[in-house]
Symmetry: C2
Subunit: 352 residues, 2 copies
């Protein structure tokens, strides 16, 4: 199994109150560069920050890395518009950082990015791939694209209190700036991205479309951002079978809306639960409180973990948090837990 991780940036993330993917706005541009170093090396090596939310919740990259250290998977990071250098190996598809959706054009060359990503995806020799993302501000651009496509639009948040109204206002401003009405791009998904999207979207969509064309099974690893990519694919006429794998944190926040979106887009839905409520670790508590929720292919990576291995992933996550300097003060796995946890608070649920 190969995990493909397009990583990029959009200036949309700098809009006040939009994203928690960084301790402070000026550090957010480093977040995807640091995330992919954590995936590749286990910690940031070139990037000057360890991505945490303003309250100290560690990036989902730490969870995905924990999965990688336990089950192992091949990784291909794709530069989908990084604004800062990274020491991680990346595939170069010539993608630039995105502008803000409030500009008339958010992604100058969405069509060309899609085409190059399509070539890359169709060249892969794999049987199945899992495609994730890391792009601060990505739920706002997801909302933008869903709105421009005319899809029922709601998105998740890396913040416990979803600033959805703020995102909607931002998207409305973005559509105004591009002189578009909601739904205006229903038959032109690349125009939707160009106006109010981010550069990671055509990269993920292009890789997925190319891989599907080559007969590769594709799972989109993410929450509402991947719903937006799935919508892009369906509006582009891609009819192949498609799965979305996301975390229980997104599913719990979104409730039936997520399942309905997947039904409408004819996507299989896999929901994974890392069982973080079983341990007293401070980082896990923040996830349980609704921070971060998803990102960096976390939900999809967890779908690669058997129930027997979940405890090892949690333990590895703690080790990684220690390595990243994110404190642990919990008592460890509670006494009522054991191995073989197939209970409702650990493992996979499948729907739609």
């Amino acid at each position: 199994m190969r995990v493909i991780l397009p990583a990029g940036t959009t200036e949309t993330a700098l809009i006040d109150g939009i994203s928690a993917a960084g301790a402070a706005p000026e550090l957010m541009a480093h977040t995807p560069s640091a995330d992919v170093e954590i995936l590749a090396y286990g910690e940031p090596t070139g990037a000057p920050v360890t991505p945490v939310s303003p309250t100290g919740c560690p990036t989902p990259a730490a969870v995905t890395r924990a999965v990688r250290e336990v089950v192992g998977f091949d990784l291909a990071v794709v530069d989908a518009g990084l604004a800062r250098p990274t020491a991680a190996p990346t595939v170069d598809l010539g993608v630039d950082p995105g502008a803000t959706v409030r500009d008339a054009v958010a992604v100058e060359d969405s069509e060309a990015i899609f085409d190059r990503a399509h070539d890359f995806g169709s060249s892969l020799p794999d049987d199945e791939v899992l495609i994730g993302e890391t792009v601060p501000g990505g739920t706002t651009t997801a909302l933008g694209v869903l709105t421009a496509l005319g899809e029922p639009a709601t998105v998740s948040s890396s913040l416990p209190e979803n600033p959805l109204e703020r995102k909607r206002r931002t998207v409305d401003q973005g559509l105004d700036a591009s002189d578009l009405e909601p739904g205006a791009c229903a038959t032109e998904p690349m125009a939707a991205i160009r106006a109010v999207g981010d550069p990671v979207q055509p990269t993920v969509a292009g890789i997925a479309a190319g891989a599907l064309e080559a007969g590769i099974d594709v799972t989109l690893a993410g929450g509402t951002q991947m719903v937006a990519v799935a919508a892009v694919l369906r509006h582009a006429g891609v009819e192949d079978r498609l799965s979305i794998a996301t975390t229980s944190f997104v599913a719990d926040e979104q409730g039936e809306r997520l399942e309905r979106a997947c039904e409408r887009l004819e996507c299989d839905l896999v929901v994974t639960d890392p069982g973080f409520d079983r341990r007293g670790h401070v980082a896990m508590e923040r996830y349980c409180a609704g921070e971060a929720k998803e990102g960096v292919a976390m939900g999809g990576a967890l779908s690669l973990v058997s129930d027997d291995e979940l405890q090892a992933v949690r333990e590895r996550f703690e080790t990684i948090c220690d390595r990243l300097g994110i404190g642990s003060d919990g008592p460890g796995e509670t006494a009522t837990d054991g191995n073989g946890e197939a209970s409702s608070d650990g493992g996979k649920r499948r729907g739609s």
Copy 2:
């Protein structure tokens, strides 16, 4: 264990009769880009060629990939001057392709490349790394650097008949063009590379120096090209323990010269033998006939293989040759062979 693979090009490879790292000169520029795709994906995905010698001997990348499929190792490819695109993920250190050694300047910014590579190497969180290379024409630039440093200079070849005199003439022309005498750069190894080296050399040397400074064990995975890098490091005042791991094909060709070079440079030497004489496979026969010999970290990768796993590596190599469209017409492992092969024609030898 992480394998780091700087991959680059030098126009020196285009000098007639220098390199066998491609079926034809015009294809050689694609060789390193294809090699790293084979390592990353198991076959060329974006590059338009499968690197073979003019007689059809497959690139050592196929052997290193076979090792990777059997024992698994983390991979970080570094763009050390690729002249053609690659679909493999690469670390970007801003390295340009090298000019020919016959120009006054072969590597414009050798010092700056070394410094950036040093930063990268010192940032790695690993306990041990193995650093390889893929650069067609690299034994000629190795000869150039050894000569400019004033080291006893002899190098291996990817051809069965080593065109050593041709390489010496090329290096002499290169030193003339740079207005240098042999030995003139003994205290300035980056000047040696600038005049008659290639961009992969300061990348490997810089990563090694940085990693050693960070307390990481370093093995240079390669033959006489890595002797040249070890000489660069020693002439740069790096005194840490250093190993070179290469194939029996190089060791057999070089005989005592290789051991003496390692002694003089205070490098441990590990010689690995894939046991290719045990099977009738056409690609293995070419290696046994002295083609290719080494490259793409082949010798170092084989040092990661236990004797018990060697047969699996040979079998995987055959599978990969099939995948690459390189014919098999042999009878498979001969009847006298079994498992647990610790005999003289399969396994590791250690020296110096």
